[in-house]
Every structure is written in C-alpha cells, then in structure tokens.
C-alpha cells in the first residue's frame, strides 16, 4: 500500500467537504485508482465528472499516470482563470 495526499480545489472542495486528505492505495496505482478511492471515501465527490482534471505533483496529467508513495494528486475543476 502507498499513501497519496489528495487536494481538492474550488467546487470540488465543497463537494468533498475538505481541502485536503490522504488515501491509501495498493501499488502499482494510477491517478484513476486514487480518484476511485476518493469517490468511496468522500461520497460528495461522486458528483465530479467521470474524468476530472488532475495534477500529479503540480503538473497536469492524464488519469492513467502512475502514482507513487508520497505523491500528491490534486483534483481541479475546469480551469477558469483570467
């Protein structure tokens, strides 16, 4: 098992009810596995789209990107800066 920290932003933080947490996933794992675990632990996040934007260690990645112990996965609502 590996421990991955998870951060929620903007509307997703409201859905999760918190800004950050940590989840344990069995390795090897991908960002998608972390998101599946998040949906179990934070039922409000089931309202997120099927394939939300995600960042791994502050870089946007596809959901099949591998994660390791100690990594950070951030779940990002559709970007609307500017």
């Amino acid at each position: 098992m590996g421990k991955v920290s998870v951060r929620f932003f903007a509307r997703y933080a409201e859905l999760a009810g918190c800004d950050s947490s940590a989840v344990s996933v069995s390795m090897p794992a991908t960002v998608a596995d972390v998101i599946a675990k998040v949906r179990d632990l934070f039922p409000g996040t089931q309202a997120m789209p099927a394939r939300p934007l995600a960042a791994l260690n502050r870089h946007q990645v596809k959901l099949d990107a591998p994660v390791g112990d100690g990594d950070e996965v951030a779940l990002l609502p559709p970007i609307s800066g500017g």
């Binding site: 951060r7 932003f9 903007a10 509307r11 960042a55 502050r58 946007q60 951030a74 990002l76 609502p77 559709p78 970007i79 609307s80 800066g81 500017g82």
Partner: protein, 142 residues
C-alpha cells in the same frame, strides 16, 4: 521574486516598469476585468497557488523563447474582485509591435487554458455560483 499572484488591486505602473525600455518600441497590455453579466457584482477568485505560480513561469518562459527580444510580465489578482476591476494584467514590450502583440496574446490564451484558478460569481442578493457548475445557470448557495 515579484508577486505574480496578488490580493490587492493590480498596479499597472509597476508592471509597465518591468517591461519597458528604450530598446523596446512597442508595448502591448492586456487587462481582463470582471464583467457585470446577469447581475454579477463581484467574482471571488481562488487558486492552487503553488501550481499556478509554476505554470505562470512555464508560460512566460515559453513566450520568452518564442519572442526572445520581448520582455513579458503578468499579475493575477485573487480574492473578491468587484465588477469593473482587473483580475489579470499582462504586459509585453518588444522592439516592434508585432512581437509585443503576439507575446501578449500568447500568454493570455495559455493562461486561460492552463492556470489552476477558479471563479465564484457573487450576486447582489447574496447568492453565489461557481462558473464551472453546469447544473445551474444561476445562483445556488446562500
């Protein structure tokens, strides 16, 4: 390092001073301001600050590689910004106007696609709505 993300009104004089110089004859400035669409009185901007700062530097680096004679800077304001005030300012100065316009345009378009920043619209009646929330065209929470 200069403060790319700020919670205060954007100071245009300061950003112009960062890019202008006698060898750069053209300066292009883009200002994005909060629009009063459908009774919006303000927008509350939030960010994943650390990632946004890194992404800003990546975008500016790309623009500097592409327009190597240009000087380019950017500020993004966060927090509650009243309608009519600027949320973002980009300034690009280059020897000639073509590069200045192109660099400025490149940076704002990449910012729109890549910066982890989100908007919550605020209305006069105290309601708010996230701009990415497709379930509601109008206010949801009080």
């Amino acid at each position: 390092m200069m403060m790319r993300l700020t919670r205060h009104p954007i100071d245009l004089t300061e950003i112009l001073a960062e890019v202008q110089g006698p060898e750069r004859g053209g300066t292009s400035v883009f200002l994005g301001t909060v629009r009063s669409d459908d009774g919006v009185t303000a927008i509350d901007y939030s960010a994943y600050d650390q990632m946004a700062l890194e992404e800003i530097e990546r975008i500016l680096g790309e623009a500097r590689t592409r327009w190597s004679d240009a000087r380019i800077t950017l500020r993004h304001r966060l927090g509650v910004i009243p309608a009519g005030e600027a949320s973002i300012a980009i300034a690009a100065a280059a020897p000639h106007r073509d590069e200045a316009f192109s660099a400025c345009r490149y940076v704002i378009e990449e910012v729109k696609k890549r910066l982890p920043i989100w908007k919550k619209e605020m209305y006069a009646d105290g309601t708010t709505t996230w701009t990415d929330d497709q379930r509601h065209a109008r206010p949801t929470t009080r």
